[in-house]
């Protein structure tokens, strides 16, 4: 069956933007993008007044399988992705066992084929067990499908190990994704260190805990020439360091999460553990800085760091709760509400950070509506309004600080390899 998407505002950040063009999909590929395509027998999708964009890519999610299936599975995580408008996700290796050898990477790819509804690209661990000592078999991980390397929440603290990891990853031809955190400086902090941590009596994590590692990793990227992607940067200083590094020509890219451009540490008042996230929610100045970084191109990617946890784990005293919040199903709404509607980004700039940029960084053949490309397409209705309702979530996680928030601009259709997997905010059951 062919799909003919008619009359939408087609936004292909790689190519041209075509108002009111049609998109013909056949055999899982984009067959044509033209004005007024006529094709008998195709399923017609009326996209009038909506944006037709390349399938969105979230390059930073936690699918929790294998090992933590009570929090999320590849099935539920990819359903959440589809509901959020994402056709591809890259999943972090902090599973149990850690994705530090081919068997886990292979397992993830196979489970994704069996139970997933969107494309899944595994990220392999930098070091064995993400313990920060010995390099994982990076070439092998790549051979079985890994698209990048990261120890994510267990940042490589030894600079010599990080240096070798970058040298080796460069040889293998994949990027290193770094969660920048000096664990000693962060200590056992649970929120941003500042006025709010003083008021709430919670142990703070200084901005410097992130920034010293951003600086170190940039210096090591400069030394090794390895492409370095900085996950979820969140501070004024981090944005400045990335901007300066890019100006020097260092191969560094960076991402920001929707919660870091939307919320500040004031959201922690009341001790809602859904606001406990690492890096922590920062200050107004930091939010302004990441928005500026998004606008001037310092920050390349918007990624969710979708991190589901069970209610039992989160419904505890703030300092005992695990870090993380669920983000797949609120990301697009937050991008439209907080960035596009406020003029921080144009729709095209925003879509770039959700499609072509992550595809380029991960080296995956996605993020475009060019003829012949995989038919991964997201249709977004910029005018739709929705109040975030946890009972509608596809993710197992209920740990969202956005429950009850009104969002404008949401995905209404997700097409993966030519198949409609989400329509009108509901997953299409196979």
């Amino acid at each position: 069956m062919k799909l003919l998407i008619k009359g939408g505002l087609v936004v292909d950040p790689l190519g041209k933007i075509d108002p009111a063009a049609d998109l013909l999909i056949s055999e899982g590929k984009i067959e044509a993008v033209e004005k007024d395509i006529k094709y008998d027998g195709a399923q017609i999708i009326d996209a009038t007044g909506k944006m037709v964009v390349p399938g969105l890519i979230d390059m930073h999610v936690h699918l929790r399988e294998p090992g933590f299936e009570a929090k999320e599975t590849i099935a539920t995580g990819t359903r959440a992705a589809a509901r959020g408008g994402f056709t591809s996700v890259a999943c972090m290796p902090n599973t149990r066992p850690v994705a530090d050898d081919q068997s886990v990477i292979k397992f993830i790819c196979e489970r994704a084929k069996e139970t997933g509804v969107v494309n899944v690209f595994p990220i392999g661990a930098i070091t064995k067990g993400s313990k920060g000592d010995e390099l994982s078999e990076m070439a092998d991980l790549k051979a079985y499908g890994a698209v990048a390397f990261s120890d994510d929440g267990f940042p490589v603290s030894r600079s010599d190990v990080m240096r070798r990891a970058m040298q080796y990853a460069k040889m293998v031809g994949l990027p290193i994704i770094s969660h920048c955190e000096d664990k000693e400086l962060a200590s056992d902090g649970v929120m941003h260190e500042g006025y709010m941590s003083t008021v709430l009596g919670l142990k703070g994590i200084p901005a410097a805990a992130e920034e010293v590692m951003v600086a170190r990793d940039i210096i090591l990227a400069e030394l090794t020439g390895c492409p370095l992607h900085l996950a979820h940067i969140s501070t004024v200083g981090s944005v400045r360091l990335v901007r300066e590094a890019k100006a020097r020509g260092v191969a560094v890219t960076a991402e920001v999460t929707p919660h870091h451009f939307t919320l500040t540490d004031r959201a922690v008042a009341g001790y809602d553990t859904a606001t406990k996230v690492n890096p922590p929610l920062r200050t107004d100045m930091d939010v302004a800085a990441v928005k500026e970084g998004l606008a001037d191109g310092t920050i390349d990617v918007i990624a969710t760091d979708h991190a589901p946890h069970t209610d039992e784990e989160k419904d505890v005293e703030y300092q005992y709760a695990p870090f993380g919040l669920v983000g797949l199903e609120t990301a697009v709404g937050l991008v439209f509400t907080e960035l596009i509607a406020t003029g921080v980004l144009t729709p095209v700039e925003a879509i770039k950070k959700l499609t072509v940029n992550p595809a380029r960084i991960l080296g995956i053949n996605k993020g475009t509506l060019a003829v012949g490309a995989d038919a991964d397409v997201t249709i977004i209705d910029p005018n739709i309004k929705e109040v975030v309702d946890v009972s509608q979530f596809e993710t197992k996680g209920r740990n969202s600080p956005f429950i009850g928030r009104k969002l404008n601009g949401l995905p209404v259709m997700t097409i993966v390899n030519g198949n409609i997997v989400m329509h009108e905010r509901k997953i299409i059951e196979k």
Binding site: V199, G201, V316, E317, Y320
Partner: protein, 313 residues
């Protein structure tokens, strides 16, 4: 007038009027404590539970006596002797206690915000008896009561809080309460024990004790926890005592009628010299008595029946 909320989670949430209401209500309560028969039927039939996840002598027994003087039924639950050691969550413990019919739950916990979690979980009134490094509102209320009793007024007084401000819930609650009532609050301690942006709470920050004590009406000395030195937050107890210990010379810089407060228990010879702790300016023992009176006032006000009972009957 009544308290606005069903819970007392911190002084940050209270208005000056509410603080004054509690302090005013504590005056007749103190009279009850002074009587030979220290019991009124005000809270007869009410059940009050103290849920303590941290060891405590004075706060817990103070609440316990306050409840008993008002004829409430009380039980005490300690984390070390309850299902908490079997891994029961705070939420489940709270639900169990509520199902048994508790009207007021008094909680002490090492995690900041625990009383908030409890208050969201149960319909009973929740009183924060100290949560981590967040607040200890009843300690601050008894401190302020003591100051007001001795000085007649709080507005315009200069109060210095001396010691480990970073980890002190007593300091935070005192700052909220005292500034709301119009006092000038100074905080002084080692720079490594000073919370970030504390000045935004409306206090003056000092790292030299002599500067902070100049002309103050009240010195509230905080207990220094000796483990902080092991954490590397200051070099030695000796140096701490030398720079921040309250002694005769330093106290001489304060107003001649200055009061000395301390939430206890004391490290004599560290944060305060014995002659000052036991001297004429010290009101440390009276703080303990006032603590019972303030907690009686609070239990009474939170029980929500101030209109139907005569307090002093």
């Amino acid at each position: 007038m009544r308290l606005k909320n069903k819970d007392l989670l911190g002084l940050q949430d209270l208005s000056a009027d509410e603080i004054n209401l509690i302090l005013d209500t504590a005056i007749p309560m103190k009279d009850i404590i002074k009587r030979k028969i220290k019991k009124v039927p005000t809270l007869r039939g009410r059940t009050i539970v103290t849920l303590f996840y941290e060891p405590s002598t004075r706060t817990r027994s103070s609440f316990d006596l306050a409840a008993k003087y008002l004829s409430a039924d009380t039980i005490g639950i300690s984390a070390s002797t309850s299902s908490v050691v079997k891994g029961e969550s705070l939420r489940d413990t709270a639900r169990t206690i509520e199902a048994m019919g508790a009207d007021i739950i008094i909680i002490r916990h090492s995690a900041a915000g625990s009383p908030h979690l409890l208050a969201r979980t149960v319909g009973a009134s929740v009183i924060n008896a100290g949560d981590g490094t967040h607040e200890h509102p009843t300690q601050a209320l008894l401190d302020i009561y003591t100051v007001r009793e001795k000085k007649g007024i709080v507005k315009g007084l200069k109060v210095a809080i001396l010691g480990d401000i970073l980890h002190s819930r007593v300091a935070r609650s005192n700052i909220w309460g005292l500034t709301k009532l119009g006092a000038e609050v100074r905080v002084v301690g080692p720079s490594t024990l000073m919370p970030p942006e504390i000045e935004r709470l409306g206090v003056k920050v000092f790292t030299r004790t002599e500067d902070a004590l100049e002309g103050v009406d009240v010195v509230n000395v905080l207990r220094i926890q000796l483990e902080r030195q092991q954490q590397g937050l200051f070099p030695s107890i000796r140096e701490y005592a030398r720079l921040f210990g309250l002694n005769k010379e330093r106290l001489a810089l304060a107003d001649p009628d200055a009061l000395v407060l301390h939430p206890g228990p004391l490290n004599r010879g560290v944060e305060i010299t014995p002659d000052i702790a036991d001297g004429t300016k010290s009101v440390i023992v009276e703080q303990v008595t006032n603590g019972v009176a303030v907690r009686m006032a609070l239990l009474y006000l939170l029980s929500g029946e101030e209109d139907s009972h005569e307090v002093t009957n």
